[in-house]
């Protein structure tokens, strides 16, 4: 598996799963643009690690729910790297609350970033990838988008929406040599899951057939597979990396 000469854009790559994916793609030879929303320092650290591997990398601050900002980010990527082979739609937020208590704003924020953001980024890279007659788009969904989760109506709806969007864009873009797939991570050790109380975590683990939380490296390996030559005949699929939670 070799991504030498490929260029990638990973959203939400300053931390967690996005950071692990960015580093793995770079390790396999890709130049990687590191998008972030707030954590500039950590985005820089990711980019520095990538350049230390001898790849090109730069950071772009961008709220992915803002179409103009997304357009500018993709333009900068193509201007600097000359092409764009891989888009990883990873950026996401949570605003958890029981549905009865959930504020409209909490709903909107999560849908705007986690679902609309994927649409905007996909739309923005399509032009370049269509010209190239090739491209890989990898959307990070979630196991909760497949099986639901109490307290996450917004997040669950957005992640299920990402699966639908993956399939629709896979069908639209297949004739142009662009594949679109989703990864549905289970519960992965990140800042996002670190926030959970210990009790909730234990309860979670009891639902995981493989009996443990996943690691960001598990998701990075799946993303690297979908970005590589070995996955050229795979499109519109949802790859669960969840310890068997959804079967």
């Amino acid at each position: 598996m070799n991504l030498e000469g490929k260029t990638a854009l990973v959203t939400g790559a300053s931390r967690g799963i996005g950071r692990a994916i960015a580093l793995e793609l770079a390790r396999l030879g890709a130049d990687v643009v590191v998008n972030y929303a707030g954590s500039e320092q950590r985005a820089k650290e990711t980019a520095d690690e990538i350049t230390a591997m001898g790849r090109r990398s730069f950071i772009v601050q961008c709220d992915i729910s803002d179409s103009e900002a997304v357009g500018a980010m993709v333009k900068e990527t193509v201007d600097q790297f000359g092409r764009l082979d891989i888009l990883v739609n990873n950026a996401g937020i949570t605003r958890d609350n029981l549905m009865m208590r959930m504020k409209e704003q909490e709903w909107d924020e999560v849908i705007n970033t986690n679902l609309k953001g994927v649409f905007l980024c996909t739309k923005a890279v399509t032009r370049q990838m269509m010209k190239q007659r090739s491209g890989r788009i990898i959307n990070i969904s979630s196991v909760v988008g497949r099986i639901g989760n109490a307290g996450q109506a917004n997040y669950t709806a957005a992640k299920a929406g990402v699966i639908g969007l993956t399939k629709a864009s896979a069908r639209e873009l297949a004739p142009r040599g662009i594949t679109v797939n989703a990864i549905a991570p289970g519960f992965i050790t990140t800042d996002m899951t670190d926030e959970l109380p210990a009790e909730a975590k234990e309860q979670l683990i009891s639902q995981i057939p493989l009996g443990t939380l996943g690691d960001t490296a598990d998701i990075a390996a799946a993303a690297a597979f979908l970005a590589g030559d070995g996955a050229k005949y795979i499109t519109g699929q949802v790859l669960g990396v969840d310890g068997g939670m959804a079967m």
């Binding site: 032009r127 269509m130 010209k131 639209e172 004739p175 142009r176």
Partner: protein, 77 residues
Amino acid sequence: MADVLERVTKIIVDRLGVEESQINLDAKFKEDLGADSLDVVELVMELEDEFDMEISDDDAENITTVGDAVTYINSKN
């Protein structure tokens, strides 16, 4: 004018693999030249590059014939 039509024709021939003789101002991309929806989107993208202009999605939707494209480009230059 002739120059614009010539350049547009060349792009259509390259992109859609049709004969130059099939192309006239009234020719519809989809019905007459065998383009699908994505082909039309791509044609518009190439016209943007060729003529160094941006064509909004709203305007692009109204470009359905070779003549529409030529008229649009001339109106912007």
